[in-house]
């Protein structure tokens, strides 16, 4: 098939014959309604054909068209206009500036764009400007709060770290829930292959290079992408060159990042008292307990109370957290003439996190070139190169970890322990026995001496040939390559706890991903009377291959030797290969009648090697329609309603993210034996997976009804969408009895429903002279429910007879799915507080009676979900002359999550960890105390009880409202900027995450739902920055 597609290139070249047009020439000038200035780069298209032109630097265009045709003028940020040419040879146009209304252009994939007026699907657009110049490593992080139906969660605050985007809820149980990302037509591989650091495959792209982001949400919009579209599609379009004078833009910003919060923990005296109390309560005599605690701290047991009162307290959090720095340098050039246009840019971005030794550096080079070979042929070429170096903390790609992570350990280390010795050296190195307490590593030493790093090199390039066969037909062959290599390093210094006993450890990773894509599309447009037809046909082939090499070698001579050659004792070497292929054909038929009624039919046939032998091909159709009510005579020209459009769609999309994100398991249907079950130095294997030849994609059926509106001359615009997304054939691990030799087999059986309402509202609140205040608000509410698990799951032995399935999700997180409940449920026992008489932790049993030993599963219940009830954002822009203020408030309500970071601190020194001041203050101390914190008890479990930290006690409300971003821009007046020969100059200052309102008691509520908890994650930070942007 690859050969066939490549062959089609040749086929098309054969038909590259000169044009035979017989038309009149039309020219004119396009200006802006804002200030009457010329608009370069406006697309001028002859309606119903693919013929067109773009305006030059002075806003002029020239196009040939038949006299009875119409011209469509469109430009991002302006309403499109359509005019009949009549017998004119000059058509001058003033475009109305307005960012969000039915005039904007929707990017629909496979090189297509459509005026929103005619678009029948549900999509949201975010401009490149909204996601650039922010202290984030990747654009996806900046989408939070920007678009309805799009939920963005940071896995952690690592710069350039992992992000999770969920479009219209979670529609998968054990398969992946990530949208498909397409950048300039390149379908990206976004699996996270970095073994040692948290990384984000989208961070290769400098957000400033982005022109716009289109988020396709319903089946009508997304089903052209077939089996990859179930979780939505994010289409990124980068900036293009504009004909005219070459513009050179410099952009620089500098910022600082402060921790959002530090945890209030005990001082030395309180800890000694609390730990002693733990031992005494557990039956140790007071004097024995006191000396035991002192000896744990390696203090003389002879200390008097006065000596203890004089002991110092050390602030480990202060040593672990720091002020981060951000620097961003960019230069961009764009220009060209009618035949050739280019956009080239380069950037260098560095960001250090608010935790020591965590940072991110990225250099990018980006070029796009458009060249008109002749009137029939043009080429589009894009190339993006990036190199990233990120230093991280001990932990998995999701970020979470325990002892080795400074964010986790620093509040838990015992407060009497010094960080440095008097001479400035590290206290308590492993060579000297470590530091006292369970966390016996000096985390500052560990963080500073060990190296955990990833170097990620990526290039994403594409080449497309546009062949205009006739005015009605364009054929476009396209090839792209998305290549990424991850060079990971993990060096455990021989002076640290992980390294000392093996005399240092060097681990290296090399991961290469090659994602090749080619397709051919044909676009045919025809206008017959009042009818407009459009037909897209295409065929596509994709091959994605990943290879990984991992080495682990110990014993370096001294800490100065940090590379594998210096290490004497190889521990392990691992290499793996995985890959898949996909072949597809697709088509889209569009019909418009009388500029009022639109109908769109889409179908895609996808075959994938990931699917089982009996189900290799899936078909994904959709149908959608729109009615532009405001064009009807009863509304047209009315004073109040400027635009009104009703949309409806129904269709199916597929999800092919079967297997696992981190292992990129592309063989979910095969019977496999896994290697690595070696013994005594000889190779071994063991069965790992039972074959299921019927395994196939997951199917999503989405119904959507939407209303787009504009009132009062489009001063109020927006959309309301209601949808029902039914996800069927969901991959479920059918749990097998372990006696079968397997724990589960994957079958398509589950069903999840997401029902939701999305509202996007944009208003121009004030427009008075130089003063303008605009708002945009979006909110999404989704009800998620598991409607089907597989039959035969034995109900839990509790009064609810709960049908519960335990599984490991695509991201490696162990979860439960409960029939009739939302996904990601919190299912646990009900903490009932503290017995005021004894201080023991109490729980409710199934009947609501108090018990000290709740039974599992008998006494477990559902206590909410990690999925939000609603989320959204509220953005405001206030402009006065050259001054503009922009601020975004983002909110997320209704998530409930276990706080795994503070649950250790909530132990109240039941083990040798520090404790939270608040749980210390609230703990039960004497009969009659009414509190929610049980008495301190060594090892946290009183006799004949369960742990006092169990059940709902550490389950918290992770809702938050956050002033995500506030920016003040100042456009330097031309009179001043012209002195440095600049055509435009802008200065800006900005702050992010300035205010957070939440009940969450750990560092940050934003990073909790990606992994299995929040312990050890580098939290997000408060950032402040200032920048300057000059265009010559």
């Amino acid at each position: 098939m690859r050969k066939l597609l490549l062959g089609s290139w040749l086929l098309i070249l054969l038909f590259c014959l000169p044009a035979l047009a017989q038309d009149v020439a039309v020219s004119g000038r396009v200006t802006s309604s804002d200030d009457g200035s010329a608009l370069p780069g406006v697309s001028v298209q002859v309606k119903g054909t693919t013929r067109g032109a773009t305006t030059d630097a002075n806003g002029n265009y020239r196009v040939s068209a038949s006299a009875n045709s119409r011209l469509v003028f469109s430009f991002i940020g302006f309403s499109s206009q359509e005019v009949a040419i009549g017998n004119r040879s000059t058509v001058n146009i003033t475009l109305q500036a307005d960012a969000t209304n039915l005039g904007e252009v929707v990017v629909t994939g496979y090189g297509g764009t459509v005026n929103r007026r005619e678009f029948t699907g549900a999509s949201s657009k975010v401009s490149g400007a909204a996601v650039s110049n922010l202290p984030v490593g990747s654009f996806d992080k900046a989408l939070a709060g920007r678009a309805a139906g799009v939920q963005v969660t940071s896995a952690n605050g690592v710069p350039g770290g992992a992000i999770q985007i969920r479009i219209r809820g979670v529609g998968s149980i054990s398969a992946g829930s990530d949208p498909l990302y397409v950048v300039d037509g390149v379908q990206l591989n976004t699996s996270n292959n970095s073994s040692f650091t948290s990384s984000n495959p989208l961070s290769f792209l400098n957000p400033s290079d982005i022109e716009s982001i289109e988020i396709l949400k319903d089946a009508a919009a997304a089903s052209i992408y077939g089996s990859q579209a179930a979780n939505g599609v994010v289409l990124v379009t980068t900036k293009r060159g504009k004909a005219g004078k070459t513009q050179i833009t410099f952009n620089y910003f500098k910022g600082i990042a402060d921790p959002i919060k530090q945890l209030d923990v005990l001082n030395t005296q309180e800890w000694i008292q609390l730990r002693t109390e733990n031992l005494v309560n557990a039956g140790t005599a007071a004097d024995v307990a006191r000396s035991s605690v002192l000896s744990t701290l390696r203090l003389p047991t002879s200390l008097t109370d006065a000596d203890i009162a004089a002991l110092p307290t050390y602030d480990w959090q202060k040593a672990a957290f720091r002020q981060g720095q951000t620097d961003n340098y960019e230069i961009g050039m764009n220009g060209g003439n009618e035949k050739t246009r280019f956009y080239v840019s380069g950037s260098y971005y560095t960001q250090s996190a608010n935790v020591i030794n965590v940072n991110f550096k990225r250099g990018t080079l980006n070029s796009t070139l458009t060249h008109q070979i002749n009137s029939k042929l043009s080429i589009d070429q894009t190339l993006k190169l990036s190199t990233i170096t990120s230093n991280g903390q001990f932990g998995g790609p999701n970020g979470g970890s325990f002892l080795g992570a400074a964010a986790f350990s620093s509040p838990l280390i015992l407060p009497s322990v010094a960080i440095y010795n008097a001479d400035g050296s590290y206290n308590g190195t492993p060579a000297l026995g470590g530091i006292p307490g369970i966390l016996n590593q000096n985390i500052i030493q560990v963080s500073e001496l060990n190296t955990i790093r990833a170097d990620i090199n990526q290039f994403v390039g594409s080449l497309a040939l546009n062949y205009k066969v006739t005015d009605n037909l364009t054929i476009r062959p396209f090839v792209s390559l998305d290549y990424r290599s991850v060079r990971g390093r993990n060096f455990s210094d021989p002076r640290t706890a992980d390294g000392i006993n093996v005399r240092g450890r060097v681990q290296d990773q090399f991961n290469e991903n090659k994602n090749f894509l080619t397709n051919v599309t044909a676009n045919y447009n025809k206008e017959i009377g009042k009818s407009d037809f459009g037909l897209l046909l295409g065929a596509e082939y994709r091959s994605d291959i990943n290879e990984n090499l991992l080495t682990n070698i110990t014993n370096v001579p001294t800490p100065d030797f940090k590379y594998a050659s210096a290490a004497a004792l190889p521990v392990s070497i691992g290499g793996t290969w995985t890959g898949y292929r996909k072949g597809s054909v697709f088509g889209n038929l569009k019909y418009n009648f009388n500029k009022k009624y639109d109908l769109s039919l889409i179908g895609r046939l996808d075959g994938s090697s990931r699917f089982g032998a009996n189900n290799r091909f899936g078909f994904f159709p959709s149908i959608s329609g729109a009615w532009l009510i405001s064009e009807e005579s009863f509304l047209k020209g009315g004073r109040y309603v400027s635009d009104l459009k009703l949309r409806a769609s129904f269709g199916t999309t597929g999800n092919d993210q079967l297997g696992s994100l981190f292992n990129a398991a592309n063989f979910p249907g095969l019977g496999l034996v896994n290697p690595g079950f070696d013994y005594n130095g000889a190779a071994g294997f063991a069965p790992s997976q039972l074959a299921n030849p019927d395994l196939k994609w997951e199917t999503n059926q989405t119904a959507n009804i939407g209303l787009d509106f504009g009132f009062f001359g489009n001063r109020i615009t927006g959309s309301v969408d209601v949808f029902q997304r039914t996800s069927k054939d969901l991959l479920l691990p059918f749990n097998l009895p372990f006696t079968s030799g397997y724990s589960s087999i994957s079958r398509n059986a589950g069903e999840v429903q997401n029902r939701g309402l999305e509202v996007e509202l944009n208003t121009v609140n004030v427009r008075a002279g130089q003063f303008q205040w605009k708002s945009s608000f979006n909110i999404t509410t989704i009800q998620n429910k598991v409607t089907k698990l597989y039959p035969g799951i034995v109900p839990l032995n509790n009064p609810d007879s709960t049908i519960l399935l335990t599984y490991t999700d695509f991201y490696g997180v162990g979860r439960n799915a409960i029939l009739g409940r939302p996904l990601q449920p919190q299912y646990t026992t009900d903490y009932a507080g503290v017995n005021p008489a004894t201080g023991r932790a109490m729980f409710y049993d199934y009947a609501g009676n108090i018990t000290y030993r709740p039974l599992i599963p008998r006494d477990q219940k559902y206590f909410g979900t990690e999925l939000p009830k609603f989320y959204g954002g509220f953005n405001n822009t206030i402009v006065y002359g050259g001054l503009s203020l922009d601020f975004l408030i983002q909110f997320d309500y209704g998530r409930r999550s276990f706080n795994t970071q503070t649950s250790f601190l909530a132990e109240n020194a039941g083990r040798n960890f520090n404790a939270l001041q608040s749980t210390y203050d609230r703990r039960w101390q004497k009969a009659g105390d009414i509190t929610d914190v049980p008495r301190a008890y060594n090892a946290n479990v009183e006799p004949n009880s369960v742990s006092g930290l169990g059940g709902t006690r550490t389950l918290e409300d992770a809702s938050y409202l956050r002033l995500k971003q506030i920016t003040l821009n100042y456009d330097v007046p031309a009179a001043i900027s012209s002195r440095i020969k600049a055509s435009k100059a802008r200065i800006y200052i900005q702050a992010a995450n300035l205010i957070t309102v939440t009940k969450w008691t750990s560092y940050d509520p934003e990073f909790l739902n990606f992994g299995s908890g929040n312990s050890g994650l580098v939290p997000n930070s408060k950032t402040y920055q200032a920048g300057v942007n000059v265009t010559f």
Binding site: R298, I438, F617, L672, V673, G684, T739, S740
Partner: protein, 495 residues
Amino acid sequence: MRTLKSIILSTSLLTVSLLAVTACKNSEFLEVTPRSQGDSQIALTTAEGVDAAVNGIYDRLQNVVLYGRDMLAVSEALSDNAQFTNKSGRLANENRNIQNNTFGTATAAGATWQSAYFAINQANLILDNIGGVAFADTAQRNRLQGQAYFLRALLYHDLSRIYAYDPGVAVATQDRGGVPLLLVGVADQSKITLPARPAVADVYKQIYADLQSSIASFSRTNANAPAYGNRQAAQALFSRVALYNKDYATAVKYATDAIAGTIKLSPNASYVGGWRAPQNPESLFEIQYIVAENIGVNTSLQTTYTTLVRTGDRTATGGFGDLVPTTAFINDLEAEKSATGTVLDIRRQLYELGTAGRGAAFIECTKFLGRNGTINLDNIPVIRVSELYLNRAEANYNLGNTTEALADLNVIRQRCGLPASTVTGAPLLAEIMRQERLEFGFEGHRWFDLKRTGQNVVKAAAQGGGLVYTDNRILAPIPVNELSTNKSIQQNFGY
């Protein structure tokens, strides 16, 4: 003209698309074969494949939830030998016999059951297929077959003593039977069965059969000992299984057979040194670990038992030392002293004061001390020659052959530097059991020895206060997964 051309082109494109689809459907274009995993259909069709599959069973035994830690350390934690130190918090719940905290729990509820049955399925698949595989060397076939039988017997016995009552001491009102017996490998979905729990006697019958097949398959040389299953180890395991089964004559027979084998009891002079060598010279079967298989600082036996990095050096702190001997255990080791007050028992040398690096120092077991040259890397003995003498002594005692019993007891006592004993009657049995406890301290025997003899577990309050034999916690719970996937299986009493 234009129309014609667009028709030609559209037709061409459509043809290309159709060809593409046809190509997809008819060719193997969408077949991608895994390269770093294998196809289960062809895995067991060659001698090399069977060999690799047998290694795969040993690999399971290395798992933390089997011999990597739990078969030894959890067993000690549950028993009256050990106390938890709370230095990492691990095994504290097991040591206090808290409900549901047992073998495998620390990894995942039921993980020991899971690993054992996965390994049994591997053995079953090998035994199902080995007959059809061509071996150039028949001895290799016999050796691999013998190992598969041996390992299946070992695993069924371990499962049975964890999850079921031992023969003859069942608490009748609480007895829910033995562990499910699966003897056919599952290679595809159609082979999955939902087994019920057979009588314990049936399980033992199967173990006997497997051990007999195993002994018959193995050659008389012990070339593969102690890393792999071998004839002498199979005989030794048989003596253990028969002792559990109160089948004393068989226990005596196989103990005697095994004692006659090439691996001999370590003498006094090299006994302690044997515990410092990578392989214990008297191991009949010992799970081997190479550098890449290091269990690491959290759950290896070394870190579980001691904070020391090396013997005699209290300045370097290595592991956590989560589980240490009770004072009573140490006192028992020290009970017999010379006239000058020196402790006679050389096994006391295997216990020493740990570091204070992670809190108060305790006397810790040092049988696992990175003997393979790297911290946390130790080979783990499953069955040693010493056990044969104690098995035979106990069996002979129960057969009324007290002279023979006393003789075997004294082999062990004298080897350890203790004077020969002359006790008779019940004190003789008590002394055999005491030597069993001291000899296999921290090797995972004590809990099972108490259980198979129906005794209460007496512990101090700090270690949870112990269990009477009728307590449901004497048996581990069947994993919830089995109950929810298999209606035929019954949970143990009290869970």
